[in-house]
């Protein structure tokens, strides 16, 4: 698959998860999962629903502690940092939540401005200008006075995208950015993910089920199946794979759909 406008990966690993294992109430959701995200790369994570993709991203962000294994971001072990060190590191990455997670007691403008105000170092004029820029980029220049409950699902996703990228973080995690959206809005969201990555040079992890649209933006894929890494490689690797599970996910035929994947 050709990606003419994409920035090249530098080969430097910015996020590394090693042997990540996590169980809930005695059920193993992820077992021995390892991955690496290179600088400037977009890594797509795919797999069956309920298969632990969100759990994996939450562990990579430090929101969930693994039962075993560790996560390094920019070479720093996330779970060995002090509170202040962790806060400093968190300013270098952003997360777009599957369910938006917009603050419902703030309007759109304040939601997008919030990370900048909390981080400090910007004047209010600079904040307002940046917020307006970001909202314009996501195609919502006139909604800053509205509250989250006044927006549609697609608008909420775009506002959440603007908020997660407003401070230009070096790494962006997108947890199913098109879940529940129509195809047109999904295409717009993926285009925004790509333009955000191109303009800021961020490294990105994207979870989605939408392989067709992911293929336009992702450099590499990680397939999580039955709690383990089943495949990692490019779209071309996947296309040439004879593995039935890989074929199921990438081409819609194979045997994976007949099994009961996911939580073990």
């Amino acid at each position: 698959m050709n990606h003419p406008s994409r920035r090249a990966s530098t080969g430097r690993v910015v996020v590394r998860g090693t042997n990540l294992t996590r169980s809930f109430a005695g059920r193993t959701v992820l077992e021995d999962v390892s991955l690496a995200l290179e600088e400037g790369e977009i890594l797509g994570i795919i797999g069956p629903g309920g298969g632990g993709k969100t759990v994996l991203v939450k562990m990579l962000c430090g929101l969930l502690v693994p039962d075993d294994g560790n996560v390094e971001i920019f070479g720093q072990d996330l779970f060995r940092l002090s509170g202040i060190e962790l806060q400093a590191l968190r300013r270098r990455y952003g997360l777009l939540f599957q369910n938006y997670a917009l603050f419902d007691f703030m309007n759109v403008g304040d939601n997008v401005a919030f990370p900048m105000r909390q981080a400090g170092g910007w004047t209010e004029d600079e904040i307002q200008a940046r917020v307006q820029d970001r909202l314009t980029e996501v195609g919502l220049p006139n909604v800053r006075h509205l509250f989250a409950n006044e927006l549609s699902g697609g608008m909420k996703k775009r506002v959440a995208l603007a908020r997660s990228a407003v401070t230009d973080p070096e790494i962006l995690f997108f947890d199913d950015p098109t879940a529940g959206l129509d195809p047109v809005t999904s295409s717009k969201i993926f285009a925004l993910v790509r333009s955000t990555q191109q303009h800021r040079g961020s490294s990105c992890v994207v979870i989605s089920h939408d392989i067709d649209r992911m293929s336009v933006i992702c450099d590499r894929y990680l397939l999580i199946y039955e709690g383990r890494v089943h495949f990692t490689g490019t779209h071309t690797d996947a296309r040439e794979s004879r593995d039935s599970v890989v074929r199921e996910f990438f081409h819609g035929h194979g045997t994976a759909g007949r099994s009961q994947p996911g939580v073990r």
Partner: protein, 257 residues
């Protein structure tokens, strides 16, 4: 028999878990106050939400509380003609006991429940996780401002409530018992109830701290979506009410001697 013992054991564990969780929230809040590290904008927002929006219900509750105190005393006042004791009786009961307890319970039902629901909803909609990923410590941003706001505002609302309760008592004594309001207030002022007033304020501060810590604990530990939020609100109101009566008992015991 085994089943009964198992239930008692489970209830004991749950109670200890709750008390432990509340204690941790309280200690972390105190830790965050030395030196003070919290969000000022969020504190102002909470002071307004907690205090300004609560005073109508406090005024109404206080007016009727004072009136009820006087009506209850009315029978004996009529029998004995000791109208001078009316102000003392109502003042004593309102300032030291009924005022802070009633206002605390109203505050718990309105502000505490609202706080648990708000934090619980933030938890289940991942807004608290969003704060963490934005490098904001949720405890300092959410809990400490609420702790400060509830203490300050319950203290002020108790003073306001005391005034209106005595006003309600005076109006009732004039209209229903035919005792001049000046006689009522003379009874209040000549009884030297400063100690009772101060005791009431100490209770208000303690109740404010208790309601904030309890409501934040239940809000932050919500699991299970909307149903979980409902359960947490219920548990928060019940636990806050128990906390108010337990603290009231100890403060009354310590100050009575």
């Amino acid at each position: 028999m085994t089943r009964i013992l198992a239930n008692i054991g489970a209830l004991s564990l749950l109670s200890m878990e709750t008390v432990g969780g509340i204690t941790i929230v309280f200690m972390r809040t105190l830790w965050s106050l030395v030196p003070p590290r919290f969000d000022r904008d969020e504190t102002w927002r909470n002071l307004y939400k907690v205090g300004v929006k609560s005073y109508p219900i406090v005024v109404l509750t206080a007016l009727f509380t004072g009136a009820i105190m006087v009506i209850q005393s009315g029978h004996y006042v009529r029998q004995t003609g000791a109208t001078g004791l009316l102000g003392w009786g109502a003042g004593f009961a309102v300032l030291a006991e009924i005022g802070p307890v009633m206002i605390g319970l109203m505050f718990s039902g309105r502000v505490g429940a609202n706080n648990t629901a708000e934090l619980g909803t933030m938890k289940v909609t991942e807004q608290i996780d969003a704060l963490r990923t934005l490098a904001i410590e949720p405890f300092r941003y959410l809990v400490v401002p609420r702790f400060i706001s509830m203490i300050v505002m319950l203290l002020l609302l108790t003073v306001l409530g005391d005034l209106f309760a005595l006003g309600g008592g005076a109006i009732t004594s004039e209209l229903i018992l035919g005792v001049d309001y000046r006689v009522f207030f003379q009874g209040v002022f000549e009884s030297h109830l400063l100690d009772e007033f101060v005791t009431g304020l100490v209770k208000a501060i303690t109740f404010g701290a208790s309601i904030s810590v309890v409501s934040c604990h239940f809000g932050l530990t919500v699991t299970g979506g909307a149903t979980g939020v409902g359960r947490a609100v219920n548990a928060s109101v019940v636990t806050s009410a128990i906390g108010i009566f337990v603290l009231d008992y100890f403060i009354t015991y310590l100050t009575a001697g």
